[in-house]
Amino acid sequence: MFELLGIPPQALFGQLLLGLINGSFYALLSLGLAVIFGLLNIINFTHGAQYMMGAFVAWMLLDYLGIGYWWALVLVPVIVGLTGIVLERLMISRLYHLDHLYGLLLTFGLALIIQGLFRNQYGISGEAYSIPSQLVGVQNLGFMFLPNYRLWVIVASVVVCLGTWFVIEKTRLGAYLRAATENPTLVGAFGINVPRLVTLTYGFGVGLAALAGVLAAPIYSVNPNMGADLIIVVFAVVVIGGMGSILGAVLTGFGLGLIEGLTKVFYPEGSAVVIFVIMAIVLLVKPAGLFGRTA
């Protein structure tokens, strides 16, 4: 077998794969944040909690009702998205006329409540969610083994990201959305119900987080804190990419996942902080972010 810089290829490709998996989640979550930020102008701190809710609702559907993975993929984003819509109508919508920072504080408070409630109910040890039978097994690629489920996660994430990009950039609904981002008053004057558009957008962003949660459930243990630390890394991803462009958010997510994976191979101690270091460099060189427009 050949070796790269003294690293056995199995370890290298294994970590790259893990990086790509992490990147899939970074991409899905930062995409949701970007979509919500585009229209609502708030940073959804609850995003991590909603990702956790996605994983938990999938587990509950299976455990209490016997509804399996494939139905969960469809049902969970809808259920969690609906809770998001309720939150937006009852609370978040009251803050649009205020400084955006209040939105951050409100959603932070909501995240604390949701995480605290789940911790009270389920403890912190976590619940196991098994891989659906169709995706058990591995592919032998010759130089490494690729678990089917992980391949599925990457494919699903890419498809969902591209689908979202297509809807926002290429369809009529997306055109309304982008127009409302630029000038909500004018779009309202054309007879489009902007508040409803805002509510549905929030629900959609939350649904994306929940979908990421379902995809994550079989890989990571389903526990109340699974979103809390992840969301901070996703914030750094968002700062690096800038929230101006959908594809930018997706590319940054996958790219940083890969870089993190590479760091695990060559300098394991630095893997937890590498994304933050990159963020510092980007702030020095291009403060608006790689794909960002100046605020």
């Binding site: 940073i43 409100l106 809390a228």
Partner: protein, 327 residues
């Protein structure tokens, strides 16, 4: 956020400009000091010292948020790193408490300079996310670095003897040392807010483009107030390490950053005395709810939500409106 506190601030400026501290502020400071002098004989001293440390932490944070208009979501980084360094200095290097606290505070100042310098390149929501991300970096560093003791933290830190002469082992003696530090810190913050520097700071908060057009180097002011806030947060953190004889991951965790935001929001951001009330309330609440596990988190979340939706002025903000006096 600025628009709501603006009228009060104008009054503060007017009265303070007329000649030193306004009379009712003098009375409040005197009342607080009198209360703090009696407190250790009535209440458990370690508890009151905890309140004092968080009072200083919240006031330092409020200097940045309430008067500088900058929401840092990562102040635990300065509080916690100072706590670690002070604990390490006292335990491993065997420094006297005042030198250990100085080491911790200097660390926080240095970190504040580096992170603040980077974070002020973005504004608003991005600023909050950048500070949070840097704080998380400090957290991961503290988790892995050899001298922090990982999950255990640095335990049984010696309180030592002040200047090598006066032993601080007894809670009562330490109490007055802590009180002196915290009260000194509060007066310093008060002075900063009402100095010409503080007036420029508030001008930048209220209308940045106008401050730029008047020729102020806005970025330098922002960095200065960030470093001041981080330094004072570090002073609070170092002192806390001596009080509890412990520095741990709790001090650098993002939930600590959230707590200090909550204290300031509850008490009233942009008020002088709000964070004092907020910190005392939250620490007392944690004390009573300590046995209920995650319900503390839920309660804090509820206070956040209610505070943001209905109660944005905070306790002291509302009092101040009723009394028609800036507090």
């Amino acid at each position: 956020m600025a628009a709501e506190v603006e009228p009060l601030e104008r009054q503060v400026a007017a009265t303070a400009g007329a000649g030193g501290m306004p009379r009712h502020h003098q009375l409040i400071f005197a009342g607080l000091l009198a209360f703090a002098l009696v407190a250790p004989f009535v209440l458990y001293p370690v508890f009151v010292m905890k309140v004092l440390c968080f009072v200083l932490f919240a006031c330092a944070f409020n200097l940045l948020l309430g008067f500088g208009g900058l929401l840092s979501f990562g102040h635990a980084a300065y509080f916690g790193s100072a706590s670690y360094v002070a604990a390490h200095a006292a335990k491993v290097w065997g420094l006297t408490p005042e030198l250990a606290i100085l080491c911790g505070t200097a660390t926080a100042a240095g970190l504040g300079f580096v992170f603040g310098g980077l974070a002020i390149r973005r504004a608003g929501i991005y600023f909050a996310m950048v500070t949070l991300a840097f704080a998380q970096m400090v957290y991961f560093f503290s988790l892995q670095a050899p001298f922090t003791g990982g999950e255990d933290g640095i335990q049984s830190v010696p309180r030592g003897a002040l200047l090598g002469l006066f032993s601080l082992e007894s809670d009562r003696t330490l109490y007055f040392f802590v009180l002196a530090i915290v009260f000194g810190g509060l007066l310093l913050i008060y002075r900063i807010i009402h100095s010409p520097f503080g007036q420029v700071m508030k001008a930048i908060r209220d209308n940045e483009p106008r401050a730029v057009s008047l020729g102020y180097r806005v970025q330098r002011y922002k960095l200065a107030v960030f470093v001041l806030s981080a330094t004072l947060a570090g002073l609070a953190g170092s002192t806390k390490a001596l009080v509890f004889q412990l520095a741990s991951l709790t001090d650098v965790h993002w939930s600590m950053s959230g707590e200090v935001v909550l204290m300031t929001l509850l008490g009233g951001m942009g008020t002088v005395f709000g964070p004092i009330v907020g910190a005392a309330t939250i620490v007392t609440m944690q004390n009573y709810l300590a046995g209920f596990g995650a319900w503390v988190t839920v309660t804090q979340g509820v206070i956040f939500v209610v505070g943001v939706l209905l109660f944005r002025e905070g306790i002291v903000g509302v009092l101040s409106r009723w009394l028609k006096k800036p507090l």
